[in-house]
């Protein structure tokens, strides 16, 4: 054996803490949208964890707080567009609009103490790892005061979504336009389109919701749609016989409210219906081919009144599911 000093100058550090005791962890969460709210829920069952959410907006909701263009709604049934652990017997329709979704998530945020743990109007500007202390040094700009606050934590969860950095199209002269120029990602709530001549640029998911919503009130509408898009019949048609207008009756809602098991089974059915479509996206598969035929047929039927050359140009030449 080697020699042991009778009087060691430094003692090994032993803390009087039992093995496997969770050490305190601080978490910085970026964004109080659906993901940030979900974290707050999960945090309720974590031990020794403290957290703060930095949110650039004035309220929770993220995408659903910001997106308010005409016709904005979820593309899948609301009962599937909710957390797995919480049902909402009160959904008014099979597909609901942005405001109703946002309200639902606000209520969850109140339940999960999000408001107590969130710094609103704070935009994260940087995050730097400090290896010495094993923590992230995060800076956030207080949009109201212009002051940059500093914070640190062991863990950073980035719950920022991708539907908030909206972008103008790169078109020459766009900003020389002297009329009203707006983007769907930042839509002004007081814009009245009644009797106006309106151009909608784009053929993506937003344009597809805007066009039919504003058509009845505008004087004229020109949709500049450079690319074609697959326009499918509404998902889960069987559960929504009247499409987007399909509302839940008071009786259905009462049953959802009073019979948790019934509601769970209903939500399972909706999810199953959605998930069963997955094989349609296997490239080159018979299911994808069949799906393409189905959507093509539906599009041709709906466009029956249109000039045939224009109609055919609206049918995409790429496979179903390869772009959105």
């Amino acid at each position: 054996m080697g020699s042991l000093s009778a009087t060691p100058t430094t003692l090994p550090l032993v803390t009087p803490t039992p093995l496997n005791t969770p050490r305190p962890i601080r978490i910085i969460v970026i964004g109080a949208g659906i993901s940030g709210i979900a974290f707050a829920y999960k945090a309720l069952s974590l031990t020794n964890v403290t957290f703060v959410i930095y949110e650039k907006n004035a309220d929770v909701g993220g995408t659903w707080f910001e997106s308010r263009y005409p016709g904005c709604s979820c593309d899948i049934p609301a009962h599937s567009y909710s957390y797995p652990w919480v049902s909402n017997p009160e959904w008014s329709h099979v597909y609901v609009g942005a405001e109703e979704i946002c309200e639902f998530y606000k209520a969850r945020a109140r339940e999960y103490n999000v408001y107590e743990n969130t710094k609103f109007n704070h935009r994260v500007v940087s995050s730097e790892w400090d290896a010495e202390v094993g923590r992230w040094k995060v800076k956030a700009l207080d949009e109201k005061t212009g002051v940059v606050v500093e914070d640190e934590a062991e863990v950073v969860l980035n719950c920022a979504g991708v539907l908030n950095r909206w972008k103008w199209p790169e078109i020459q002269g766009l900003h020389s336009f002297e009329g009203t120029l707006v983007h769907t990602g930042n839509y002004p709530q007081d814009l009245d389109l009644t009797g106006k001549s309106v151009a909608v640029i784009g053929a993506g998911s937003s344009a597809i919701q805007v066009v039919p919503t504003i058509q009845p009130v505008v004087k004229s509408l020109t949709n500049f749609a450079r690319s074609a898009a697959w326009i499918a019949p509404q998902f889960v048609g069987r559960l929504a016989p009247d499409g987007r207008r399909t509302a839940y009756s008071e009786e259905q809602k009462r049953k959802f409210r009073e019979d948790a098991e019934y509601l769970k089974q209903y939500r399972r059915e909706v999810d199953h219906e959605l998930n069963s479509r997955f094989p349609n996206f296997y490239k080159g598969s018979p299911r994808q081919k069949a799906s393409r035929e189905l959507v093509e047929k539906s599009m041709r039927e709906k466009l029956a009144g249109m000039d045939s050359v224009l109609r055919e140009s609206l049918i995409p030449d790429f496979d179903v599911g390869c772009r959105r």
Binding site: W129, L157, P169, F281, K283
Partner: protein, 113 residues
Amino acid sequence: MLTSRFSVTPGEGYLEALQEENVEIVRTSIKEITSNSVVTSEGKAYPVDVIIAATGYDTSYTPAFKMTGRHGVDLGARWAKTGAEAYFTCAVPDMPNYFSKFPSITRDTSMLN
């Protein structure tokens, strides 16, 4: 817009609206926008009062802020070269204890290409 998980847009009413009297769909690309019109590459001008750009978002998944990890690695600079890449869509090399919640499906938007 939002959250279609299946890359095919359920567009109830869209195709029908295109065929209404007051609606025109233009497939020609836009050459420029003037003080009062949208002008196509064929030179046709469409005078309008309002332009609604439904032209989407920056969906690169790159953080909107400067993210500097271990060894000074700048995540934005790295992903500008490689596209967003992540382990099981949520963890990234050189970014210890950093987790993001978005799938890193980038260059190919198709799910199973």
